[in-house]
């Protein structure tokens, strides 16, 4: 199973306050543990929303809105993508994320869709497959 761990923004992350060397060290050590366990597929930190853009869709039109955005709690400051066999294990890992300053913050874990989740669409997918094959045959 694949999970995305979302790091919620804080007032500090939104203000562009960079992590202290102590925080960086702790986070580096934690990331190393994830690598050593063979479960980290990707992970990045995100710039504050002052350096962000939203593209809004409505009807046929689109609007571009520049950051910063107001609702800090709904914003993101980074993410990890982890591959683990169960929810229990991903929770156990995320509880280990260092919180050096002790400040309040929040991480959200979301499961990434996999093929099994689309099993309900079975017949349609089969149809698509058949069509694709037909196209290859005609070309061959």
């Amino acid at each position: 199973m694949r999970f995305m761990v979302l790091v919620k923004a804080t007032a500090d992350s939104e203000a562009g306050v960079m992590p202290t060397p102590e925080e960086l060290t702790a986070m580096g050590a934690f990331n190393e543990e994830l690598v050593k366990a063979g479960i980290l597929l990707a992970g990045e930190g995100l710039h504050p929303s002052s350096n962000a853009v939203r593209v809004k869709f409505s009807g046929e039109g689109t609007t571009v809105v520049d950051g910063p955005f107001a609702e800090t709690k709904e914003l993101l400051a980074g993410f990890w993508i982890l591959e683990l066999p169960s929810w229990d294990e991903v929770v156990a890992w995320v509880r280990r994320v260092p919180n050096v300053t002790g400040a309040e913050s929040e991480l959200e874990i979301r499961q990434i869709f996999s093929d099994e989740d689309f099993a309900y669409a079975g017949e349609e997918v089969v149809a698509k497959e058949k069509e694709l094959r037909a196209r290859t045959e005609n070309r061959g």
Partner: protein, 420 residues
């Protein structure tokens, strides 16, 4: 926390910590059976304590201390009756707590792939002590009865004890050979998941995921070994195709027929990055195979595949590790790069190879080339022969379907590497 939830939380922590805990205990007891027993005792203690006290800040250290205290208890209780445990009691203090857990884990990985063990035993032991799989899980992955796996593991532990295995990273002069054995075991596990040799399922993604995880663990333990990066890159690139390799009802889809939009971009990115590292460090045969897999990964459509480069890479690979299977893959690639006549000529040169006598991919490749040349009658016979040779039910069905296509006069599909 409700009781079952607490139990699951403790077990999750256990799965995170178990391999390093067992590695540390094996390194100082030099007895894998005892190490596992001590680790299990620590788990029982955690299950008794943690639901009420909460999970400690450093659960790994808690489990280690508990297991060691238990070892000391055992040593005292058995006293002079058991020399080994008495020695263990003395050694406990000497085994410094700041001992590098990575070294222990690497030692355990090498020991699980010790040359005194059969390949089957190496696979079972690696999955059990390093991968944390249960005997039942290993048995179901390899389609063997559970008692067989259990016995294999018991015998392996005895063989290691008899050989005086030290649960350490082997000395430099043995290291390359032993690393080769470790890489071989990981690839065996991956392949069993990627292309099951028997049974009714073509792929068992869980087993591939386990092999990938172990591969990533290994790379973090030996970051300077080019072939560790090469093997991991190969596995990531091949695994990127798993979703597209079968239809929803489980039938195989060949490489050229696969819907490439379903390939896993994250694994491709990781695989290509790993390949670059392997090449920079001066990779070997696994790296060359990863480079071939990368040719497919980079091609947006099947037609875009750089087949000439694939041919060249197979030639390079054949120079390093000559094998009839590689020669067959080379022939198939030549068939794609230079036309079916060229491919068929090369495949026919392999017909006398003893090692390929029962290999279903030889008649299957030959059938494919014959079909492309319009020699459908001969192609049909080859597909039927291939179907009779494979032990995998899904593959058999596909080969029989292809045989029938030839017979009914339908235009045969083009295909490259049948395995996808």
């Amino acid at each position: 926390m409700s009781d079952p939830a607490a139990r699951r939380a403790v077990e999750a922590v256990w799965r995170i910590e178990a391999s390093r805990l067992i590695a540390g205990l094996a390194a100082f007891t030099r007895d894998l059976g005892l190490a596992e027993e001590l680790a299990q005792d620590a788990l029982v203690a955690a299950l008794e304590r943690w639901p009420s006290t909460g999970i400690p800040d450093n659960p790994g250290a808690w489990l280690t201390t508990t297991a060691r205290n238990r070892a000391v208890d055992l040593a005292r209780r058995r006293g002079n009756h058991d020399r080994k445990l008495a020695e263990l009691g003395r050694d406990l203090d000497e085994h410094a707590p700041e001992h590098d857990p990575d070294d222990d884990l690497l030692g355990l990985v090498f020991t699980a792939c010790h040359p005194v063990l059969s390949p089957d035993a190496r696979v079972a032991l690696t999955l059990r002590v390093v991968g944390g799989l249960t005997t039942e899980e290993i048995a179901s992955a390899f389609l063997v009865p559970e008692p067989t796996v259990a016995q294999r593991i018991v015998r392996a532990k005895k063989a290691l004890a008899k050989a005086g295995a030290r649960f350490e990273t082997p000395p430099d002069e043995q290291r390359a050979e032993r690393l080769g054995s470790v890489l071989g075991v990981l690839y065996l596990i991956f392949n069993e998941g990627y292309s099951a040799t028997g049974g009714e399922h073509l792929v068992r993604p869980d087993l591939c995921v386990t092999a990938l995880r172990l591969g990533r663990v290994l790379v973090s333990l030996v970051p300077r070994e080019p072939e560790a990066h090469g093997l991991l890159a190969l596995m990531e690139l091949q695994a990127s195709r798993i979703r597209a390799r079968t239809t929803p009802d489980g039938a195989p889809v060949r490489l050229l027929d696969q819907d490439r939009s379903r390939w896993d971009r994250l694994l491709i990115t990781r695989g290509l990055a790993g390949l670059e590292r392997a090449e920079r460090l001066g990779g070997g045969p696994y790296t060359a195979q990863a480079a071939i897999a990368a040719c497919h990964a980079r091609a947006a459509t099947a037609e875009d595949t750089d087949w000439v480069r694939v041919v060249g890479l197979y030639e390079l690979l054949a120079l390093r590790v000559p094998s009839p299977v590689i020669a067959l893959n080379h022939a198939v690639a030549c068939g794609m790069a230079f036309g079916p006549e060229v491919g068929l000529e090369l495949v026919d040169e392999l017909l006398g190879e003893k090692a390929l006598a029962d290999y279903h991919l030889l008649p299957s490749a030959r059938g494919d080339l014959l079909a492309r040349l319009g020699r459908t009658g001969e192609a049909r016979a080859e597909f039927e022969r291939a179907a009779a040779l494979t032990r995998n039910g899904r593959e058999r069905a596909q080969l029989l379907a292809r045989a029938q296509e030839c017979g009914s006069g339908a235009r045969p599909r083009t295909a490259a590497e049948d395995r996808g």
